[in-house]
Symmetry: D2
Subunit: 444 residues, 4 copies
């Protein structure tokens, strides 16, 4: 039962948050006369020593240490005696753990935001450097229209930008101090919660003690933001896995991010990307865990809530690693622009341009679409390409065709046609990169 | 296959968003010369008529109508002829459907926000009116400390406040216009996307066309916010279900929100609350659906995305109904303050106060906790209550006990001890209610 | 509230199960003297008429009809008067709905099993007909070793075989009669449950009335089996979507199972497969819904259980349609064996065979693997193929190489090397097909 | 990247399965001449030593050990030299890991089945011993009808019986040997797979090598069975948590299975049960993880599959511990039959019996239900009980009431009325216990 009940095995990662919280709480206790000044100084000194013990791997967990909170208090009492037995005055594990988790989460969100920015920088750098590569754009995994490789890269930049926004929102909503809510009904020692919040860098003090100890929204919201972020990475991983097949051949992972086969000597498998894709399922499952747990309990605190920690810790670590790995992939993956071009050799990616051409000549869009549909089928049957057709043949499909139709069959021409804001035209991508840089500069 | 493929059966609810989008797009097409002014006027008029046909249930869906977009265009062409065949110029279903969904979601979020405010108002009113009822507060479903019924009610107010914040954040991130992104590569007709955004009340224009047609973050974020909101309601439903048991007897649902049994004539079942609790699973499942779908696809648009709609529509309707039902429950549920008091008759809810009393007399918290623990066990064995013990007996447990200990055994005294911000003391609840009112006034 | 509470809108699909159950229950009531023989005959006649009314779409639902059970009883009483008011004697909606759901599920499982068999037959037929096509086999989406197209097809056959087993197990566990369990405590009218079970083709009678009305395992187990089945289809869909890209070009979907683009005239999108892939998320979400609902309630019946129905009905319909669509895809998809061959033109798929060759010549496996690894890198750098190397070069990598090494570079040779049971050698596939046919013959 | 990629940190628990598989594979390699007899003996001896090293915690993992498979092979080669470099001949990590996982799962299922039986035995013992306790039965958490405590207990017995069946089915479907399937295309060394299966106690040999390395159905099916099992425990935990509230007071957890509060000296919290309830969410999340991972990949092996292990291992450990804890709870929880009786003091649980009484007197069920409904409302208003009413008053509600109505108001009478198979009548529960014992005897 002890093994089942105790959480020290995993909640010890909260040590810094727990000790930081206790240091602030000691100050608050001094203010209301529970600690003398001298006691307070000794307690803070001892707590900082314990922090160091943890940081240096020197803290020895005892079998009686149920969780990080009892472990720290036990050690504190070993060190300072009686004052250690006062640190929990007016506090409950319920408001304590909620405070620890929020502090911890805010710190970790800050770390993850930096990792996202690092990945965004890698994207910006690469997009800027490789802003002259045309590749096929896909919908339904079918070639659609030519796009810039840099435009593709930048799409991830903007997704990550939203991920950061969600993290920021979640961080803000985490910045509400529960400490001073007691077990559920509030603190009976006239503790100064506003000062506590200031001390611990919380933006607000919780408005209702019952809500304060019951609430784990901030973790669910974080897990949800992480699930979306991982889903983003998974989709790009999926693209890159497909593109690194021999059949596509667009990209080639660096050795550091691929592995060989135990049986087949020729294999070079995109394991890093497959792991990211797989770990997305892991994070989604973690979100499912906590939602199901929270949905199944009444207010306020029930021990079920202990199940909030492992999904959270596991998710943070998974997201952190995935962001780093993906950054490495972005930095090191080789591209093969020649193969990208070669795959568009049948010129089908120009079909929309041909239809638009007719529209610009005055045809109704639906008619233009239909005529080009017919033309495409004809080309396919004959095994011909757009650029090979004589104008006379074009004329048979529509008299609106003209000599200048041949100008369409140039990939750069096609790319630069999409010049509306956010399109793949080079000018638009240059603008995106500039915007992106500006955003990053503003934020950090 | 058609039945499998077509989405008109459920996406027809998007009609207003789709038509609104098309009206704006028509204006943009006029600006770039695709529509003459006269054509534009006819098109807009026809679209408004179609809007009315839908609103009045007069629109007749044809077997050829794959989805709401083709249905509207088909009808438009029936009405105006050739100009109808131009409305899709430069547009793709990919940017169109993303635009429709965002518009629709923003509108629906506004509606749901109002429903939340209604529920919050019901809470405020009730908390204000019933601000003199003391009840046991629970952790682990065990009696912990006395709380105010109004404090309990207000805890939901603050949860809902966070739910609104999440909705607002999500709405803001939905307010990014994808229209003008084409199939994936952008718009080739120099369409004025900024004007389009203004016309449709979008705050921003999407920065990258690939992201614009691929992205469904806004739906996932919304579903996640809804899952959290429903989880909140589920937890309160759980409390109220337990409290409406004969054994607790704290609350009594109105007939309108409970139902009888087909077999047992005496039953009055809290069906409304059980449904809300059950439907929370439904919304969590909807979130899982979309996360799994999105995680399984590469960029950009794949038909898998069609599975985004039903979970969204179903969730909106479920949340809307649940908020209304819960408001009804808050408004009509009878409470039994006498039973709440009676259940605290064993006075165990004062144990914390007794320990705190000793602390205030100078005992170390851990020692006070231990002494009161012993005292409680002794009382239990003897079948006695705190208030029945003579001072001499108290003294046997600690000499710090004094005549004034008997002042503790008053529920209002206990409640008002928790006077730190957010505590259950009456003054704190009054402040919460005042704050709550101010917040609602500011927002609407 | 009524709209929130009532389930008739969706549970009407249970009409046949409900009426069948009532017919059997009427017989049981006759046996214990509640119905006279004459009453029994009238009741049964009327119930059969109501069945017809439902079947012919003539049944008119009244606003007072809460669910299918009250609707049927209301109509019965309209038809026969007083005896209708007796049909519910000793019965509760709790045991009634559990009985209906089990009956319904058993019938639907039978239907789905037939659909699986149909798909298996389509696979067998195609594998038999196209048993001479060699294609690259993939791990990590990288070419690994040559396989037979028919071997690939047959892998789905065996997955589906397991799906049927799971359905059968689930059906068996559904075949336990809850009727006669009352609300939760049992039936007080000495009803003959054994006879009821016989009448309704249940294999067993439930052993415990509390369990009988609480249990929804059979639905969860079914949803789980469906989630696995859909996951199977999704994985094949993923393969086929990738293979129908221009870059692979291995398969070409029939027009009936693909659709065009609203913007790009050349597109032919594998919508059918993408929908199946997407709908897998839908079914997984349905499973999550019910698990979360069930996890959140105590015993026995709570209204939360009403949420068991829509996920069930939706899943049945989704799986049914997906199986049919996939069968159509298997039957109609064109393959391009020439492209499959062409993509193996670099001969890298022979690498394992070369290593195995060295092992058979006496080299240690790990050394052989390493040598071929070096050889492969050398070939890649030089842009050469295995078959182009002179023996002297081979000798430089290992003196064990011999003239007969060239025999390896034949795809059929490679395929037929894998002759251990279950391998891709033609003889093995022929055996699989034979076994498959035998299995299907046995079962139907 | 190494830390991201390597699985040795968690897959080392597979050591016994991996080594057992390798011992069998060594024998098969001897048979086809890869190993001499002498080499085979040395290899087996060394593998057994490695097994011991793991078992005794003496195995030292090296930084180069990617996973359990490479670790074992590395150590084997250290011990025996060249023959170690042959053990992987014809084998791939793909068929190896699938074999390991299946072996491991079968063993673990056997262990868990024993744990279930232990829990079932505890239930049987307690139900037999406490077969004379009447308590209120609930639907919607409202008192419905009196039931036997033993009947309630036995309901869990039957749920667990189904759980075992599901485990057995899953074990059977796990008993299919993938070894000899190579990377995906089969084994090219004429390995005798039938003999391998026999050696490793597999019932079957996989029929298709592609399926063999792709398939993880057996894990999903196991996780699903575990999710259902945990859901069962969670529902009983929920009941017991509610029943251990002061307000119900039906049960009292042993000290070993409850814990105190850090703040409130009087608290005795049902932590053990809350943890089980919480951990149900954990297992559901684990199922979600794997379903999402599998759904997102094509055939055959992708590295995403590495994410199958942690959810599996974590689930096994969680279920094992939960079963043990729950057995302890069943064994040690004190019940308070007096409180169970006291809570039925208002006699409302007899309402169904009164209605049934009227039915047996000849009234139509619906009319009887209505009359008793009226009677119940009248009693409630007057604050009276059934047994207190004079016959004259009864007659005012229905002339069918008779002197013998007072016999109804006896809990045992009520309980024993439900005598149909599976009902709560004592005879039925005795029969259930007898059946239960027989089943367990048969199985072990």
């Amino acid at each position: 039962m002890n093994r089942f009940n105790n959480s020290i095995a995993f909640d010890k990662v909260l040590y810094e948050a727990d000790i930081t919280g206790s240091i602030a709480y000691a100050k608050a206790l001094k203010k209301i006369g529970i600690f003398t000044n001298e006691e307070y100084i000794r307690v803070v000194k001892a707590l900082k020593e314990i922090l160091n013990e943890f940081a240096n791997g020197k803290f020895v967990i005892q079998p009686s240490d149920e969780d990080i909170h009892t472990a720290v208090e036990r050690r504190l009492t070993e060190k300072v005696g009686d004052p250690g037995r006062k640190i929990h005055t007016g506090r409950s594990r319920n408001d304590q753990v909620a405070t620890d988790l929020r502090l911890f989460l805010m710190w970790k969100v800050d770390e993850l935001m930096k990792k996202i920015v690092d990945l965004q920088k890698a994207i910006l750098r690469r997009a800027e450097k490789e802003n002259n590569v045309v590749m096929p754009g896909y919908t339904h995994l079918q070639q659609a229209q030519p796009i810039l490789w840099s435009h593709y890269l930048m799409s991830l930049f903007w997704m990550l930008q939203r991920d950061k926004e969600r993290f920021q929102d979640c961080r803000l909503r985490s910045s509400v101090l529960p400490l001073g809510s007691g077990a559920l009904a509030g603190n009976a020692f006239l503790i100064d919660r506003g000062a506590l919040a200031k001390e611990l860098n919380f933006a607000w003090v919780s408005e209702n003690s019952i809500d304060a100890v019951s609430d784990r929204d901030f973790i669910i919201e974080f897990l949800s933001a992480c699930a979306i972020l991982m889903m983003h990475l998974s989709r790009y991983a999926e693209d890159l896995i497909i593109w690194s097949s021999v059949e596509f051949g667009f990209v080639e992972l660096d050795e550091a991010y691929s592995t060989g086969s135990s049986m087949m000597p020729q294999k070079k498998n995109p394991d890093s990307l497959e792991l990211i894709r797989g770990k997305t399922g892991r994070v989604i499952g973690n979100l499912m865990k906590l939602l199901t747990v929270m949905k199944g309990i009444p207010l306020t605190y029930s021990k079920d809530l202990q199940e909030d920690k492992e999904p959270l810790f596991d998710t943070i670590e998974t997201v952190r690693a995935s962001l780093e790995i993906f950054k490495g992939v972005v930095k090191t993956t080789k591209i093969h622009p020649d193969k990208m071009l070669a795959k568009m050799d049948d010129e089908m990616v120009f079909a929309t341009d041909v239809a638009d051409y007719l529209v610009k000549k005055g045809l109704l869009f639906r008619d233009a679409h239909k005529i080009v549909g017919r033309l495409v089928r004809w080309l396919t049957e004959k095994g011909k390409k757009f650029s090979e057709l004589p104008l006379t043949t074009y004329k048979r499909f529509s008299t609106l065709f003209d000599d200048n139709v041949y100008r369409l069959f140039d990939l750069w021409h096609s790319v630069n046609l999409r010049s509306a804001e956010g399109g793949t035209a080079k000018a638009s991508v240059v603008k995106q990169i500039r915007e992106g840089k500006k955003l990053l500069r503003k934020q950090l």
